[in-house]
């Protein structure tokens, strides 16, 4: 299936892009991140991230949904 992935902050710097549309057979969002971490060399382990789907926080164990927008959220530093 096709999903749209968004990268922020250090993930975007590492990937060199702010997002991409990609084909995935990952069984869950955790596995999807592992594939992308290998591809882009992300330093942040999945344990330090949160994940959001279509603008709402989601569970790492959820399967990717075709056409959804998946955002990997590094530790935040607002304020």
């Amino acid at each position: 299936m096709l999903v749209n992935v968004l990268y922020f902050a250090s993930l975007r710097d590492a990937a060199g892009i702010s997002g991409e549309t990609l084909e995935t057979q990952a069984p869950d969002l955790r596995a999807l991140y592992a594939q992308l971490q290998a591809r882009h060399g992300f330093a942040l382990p999945v344990q330090r991230l949160r994940v959001a789907v279509d603008g709402a926080f989601a569970d790492w164990g959820a399967p990717p949904v075709h056409g959804s927008e998946i955002a990997f959220i590094p530790p935040v530093s607002g304020g």
Binding site: L6, F8, A9, S10, D13, L44, R48, A52, G55, A56, F57, A71, I73, P74, P75, V76, S77, G78, G79
Partner: protein, 139 residues
């Protein structure tokens, strides 16, 4: 009107404060975060805030709704800057109104703590030595 807002441009806290005041208000507590000239002993030249805007908006609103449900307050607003900021610029403002000060202080503290820990906004600092980087604090 949204209680939580992101702002690409410098904003005026006097106007934001005025929007919160009415005859029921006995106590107004506010907090502002400013860009300092140093952080962890490094000289900071400036910084950039990036947000995942849609999620930041909904998560910020959730924080303010929690404050209203938890504390005996009249209202609570928060505005967070995005984009490039120089030293001395305002990064975030929280304003809370209540009948009494206990609730105003407690809610104001709750909002800034939760915004800093949950709302998807990231800080990129530039240092005097030419180094720069994203802040991803250990939780």
């Amino acid at each position: 009107m949204a209680r939580f807002r992101l702002s690409e441009t410098p904003f005026d806290t006097a106007t934001l404060r005025a929007q919160l005041l009415d005859a029921r208000v006995g106590a107004y507590a506010s907090f502002e975060g400013w860009v300092r000239d140093h952080n962890d002993d490094r000289n900071v030249h400036g910084l950039r805030y990036e947000a995942y805007a849609t999620l930041a908006q909904s998560e910020g609103e959730a924080v303010l709704a929690e404050a209203l449900a938890t504390f005996d307050i009249l209202d609570a607003h928060c505005v967070h800057r995005t984009g490039e900021l120089a030293v001395g610029e305002l990064a975030v403002w929280v304003g809370v109104t209540a009948a009494h000060r206990d609730a105003a202080f407690a809610a104001c503290r709750y909002v800034i703590d939760e915004v800093k820990s949950r709302v998807p906004i990231w800080k990129h600092e530039r240092y005097a030595d030419g180094d720069a980087g994203w802040l991803h604090p250990q939780s």
